[in-house]
């Protein structure tokens, strides 16, 4: 303990004397000689985006949603795909551990219930907020109508509609989406050139996702031809989905609820209501008939003048 104090004092003294002119001796460390210059660079905090996303799904997932997950894996080069998670383990604690184990900073968990409804969890670990979405309107990349194609691993351009800045919960979602769906700059698996663009826009309180390939006529890699901006076309690559936010939690996979969507109705409820609507069909019919009869009896028709015109 004493030694340490002395050392640090000496260090302070050394730095004080620095501007006296003589070039410094490189500091001796265990690993070798370390120049002062290096210290300065790391001090200025070059921002390194070390985002890593873990992508998993629950068991008993539908084929369409599984393909959606595979598509998401292919468009995010900074993700790690993991095995299917047992349904009991999707309650939070085990998933957190899994994410820690894999060394990831966020997670996209595709949870499929009843093989019909897909819920997407977007979570920032270890103690970041998490959001649960209901996913609708899924179109995967394999559809032949989505004809575009782009480089696998190229960094996307993210576009958000301006209504993301209207409310705090949208702002939070925007930040999360930007961090999860944006590929880090010098990631190992990322490729150069930017040739596709993601679109996130809020319509009817749902977040719609689209992915387009940018095709602009050009001859050189670092600048466009004159007037090429007007000839730029976008071809849809896919996938497509629509997210309906259900709840935002303060912790990862749980925690205090920060936001609850008032307009959200669970798909189970919708199905139940539809069934109820159809349930009373027969009873309603019988009632309607009875009502008609009562009405007829209470308001008798006047005898028709021409009733026995054609009588034999």
């Amino acid at each position: 303990m004493g030694k340490k104090r002395k050392h640090s004092e000496a260090d302070v003294a050394a730095t004080v004397k620095k501007d006296e002119g003589a070039p410094d001796r490189p500091k001796r460390t265990l690993l070798g000689w370390k120049d002062k210059v290096e210290d300065k660079e790391s001090d200025s905090a070059v921002f390194r985006n070390k985002e890593k996303v873990l992508v998993t799904c629950s068991r008993r997932i539908n084929y369409r949603y599984r393909h959606l997950m595979m598509n998401v894996v292919s468009i995010l080069p900074h993700c790690k795909k993991d095995n299917k998670v047992e349904s009991k383990e999707s309650k939070g604690a085990t998933l957190n551990e899994l994410v820690e184990l894999k060394g990831c900073s966020s997670c996209l968990f595709f949870e499929c219930r009843k093989q019909k409804d897909l819920y997407l969890w977007m979570v920032k670990c270890p103690n970041g907020p998490s959001v649960k979405f209901l996913v609708n309107a899924v179109h995967t990349m394999e559809e032949l109508k989505l004809t575009g194609n782009h480089l696998k691993g190229s960094r996307p351009v993210l576009t958000f509609s301006t209504n993301f800045d209207k409310d705090p919960h949208w702002k939070l979602l925007k930040e999360m989406i930007m961090q999860i769906f944006g590929t880090p700059k010098d990631h190992r698996k990322s490729k150069p050139y930017h040739d596709h663009v993601f679109v996130f826009s809020i319509v009817d309180d749902h977040i719609w996702f689209r992915n387009y390939q940018i095709s602009v006529p050009h001859t050189e890699a670092d600048k466009m031809d004159r007037g090429a901006l007007d000839k730029m076309t976008l071809v849809e690559v896919g996938p497509r989905f629509c997210l309906n936010p259900i709840k935002i939690f303060g912790g990862s996979f749980g925690g205090p609820t920060l936001y609850e969507n008032p307009l959200y109705v669970s798909p189970n409820q919708i199905r139940a209501l539809e069934k109820k609507q159809k349930a009373g069909k027969y009873a309603k019919k019988v009632k309607a008939k009875k009502r008609r009869k009562m009405h007829e009896m209470s308001n008798p028709l006047e005898p028709d003048e021409f009733a026995d015109m054609w009588k034999e």
């Binding site: 905090a45 921002f47 468009i75 103690n127 990349m141 032949l144 004809t147 194609n149 782009h150 480089l151 696998k152 960094r155 351009v157 993210l158 576009t159 958000f160 509609s161 301006t162 993301f164 705090p168 919960h169 702002k171 939070l172 999360m176 930007m178 961090q179 150069p192 050139y193 930017h194 826009s201 319509v203 009817d204 719609w208 689209r210 387009y212 940018i214 602009v216 050189e220 890699a221 670092d222 901006l229 730029m232 976008l234 690559v237 935002i248 303060g250 205090p256 609820t257 920060l258 936001y259 609850e260 008032p262 307009l263 109705v265 539809e274 109820k276 609507q277 009373g280 309603k284 009502r291």
Partner: protein, 288 residues
């Protein structure tokens, strides 16, 4: 009917007051929002946002995100308008992004010789191409069929018109000959100068106008009317079929057809050795 439906639902109501009420209208289920139930932690949200967000004025090249304004409200159910709004948002965003990229002097557009793994496999893109081509072909075929139909209609009309004209012409000519004969009779087969006064319609010189149809030069002794060698140069396959057409038969046998299989030879057919050389090896008829 609808009134009854609503009444029934109210009677069977579950009694969960805080749950959203549902009013069913035909197939859609319309829901009202619970006014007081939903949690909205307006203070906690920005705190969390501060927790996770990166350093404030980080370079744009890390974020690569843009905000695009959407001018008009889009109806969710109108597919075309919705997709169009997404497309315009993307277009506007990419324009801004490309301007920014250009100012960084870094390569951002993929050169055409850059081959790397794409997000969709080549086999898949072949399928896409096949589908696009087949669609194009279908459209083209439909177009062609429609055009052919139209052309056929028009051609038929033109044909009918032509036939009518020809019949009219023929009639007129016959009428004019009759008139001429009558006039001649009436004038009592008079002298030559009187004939010259009567305007004879068929001597106008117009009736010898050539028709547009190409007709090959016919040799005087040719009984087939020039149609025997018509397709000789064109092709051997078509020649057989063409020879049986109505025009050919008319020219060869005259109006009225074959007339009993007599006199089939034309100048060319007498001179041709069609059936002789092939039967060299078919064996002699008599042993001699």
């Amino acid at each position: 009917m609808n009134n009854v439906a609503v009444e029934d639902l109210d009677e069977d109501h579950l009694g969960s007051g805080s749950e959203p009420e549902s009013e069913s209208e035909d197939e859609d289920v319309k829901l009202m929002e619970p006014s007081t139930n939903s949690i909205y932690n307006r203070d906690g949200l920005p705190d969390k946002l501060g927790d996770i967000s990166w350093i404030e004025n980080e370079e744009w090249i890390h974020k690569l995100s843009l905000d695009v304004d959407r001018e008009q409200e889009v109806d969710v159910n109108d597919d075309l308008a919705r997709e169009l709004s997404f497309y315009t948002q993307a277009l506007e965003g990419t324009r801004q992004a490309l301007m920014k990229f250009q100012s960084t002097w870094l390569p951002f557009l993929r050169p055409s010789h850059y081959y790397a793994e794409m997000v969709k496999s080549d086999a898949h893109m072949q399928k896409v191409k096949g589908r696009l081509l087949s669609e194009k072909r279908k459209i083209e075929e439909a177009e062609e069929r429609r055009k052919a139909r139209e052309a056929k209609k028009i051609a038929k009309e033109v044909q009918a018109q032509k036939l009518k004209e020809r019949a009219k012409q023929k009639k007129e000519e016959i009428e004019s000959v009759k008139k001429w004969r009558k006039q001649r009779q009436q004038s009592g087969f008079g002298g030559g100068d009187k004939d010259g006064e009567i305007g004879l319609s068929f001597e106008d010189g117009k009736s010898f106008e050539k028709s547009n149809k190409k007709r090959q030069g016919v040799a005087p002794g040719d009984r087939s009317g020039g149609k025997a060698n018509q397709n000789w140069g064109k092709g051997k396959k078509g020649a057989g079929k063409k020879r049986k057409s109505r025009d050919f038969k008319n020219s060869k046998f005259g109006f009225g057809g074959r007339k009993g299989l007599k006199k089939q030879n034309t100048a060319d057919s007498t001179n041709s050795l069609r059936g002789f050389n092939n039967n060299n090896f078919s064996g002699s008829k008599r042993g001699k």
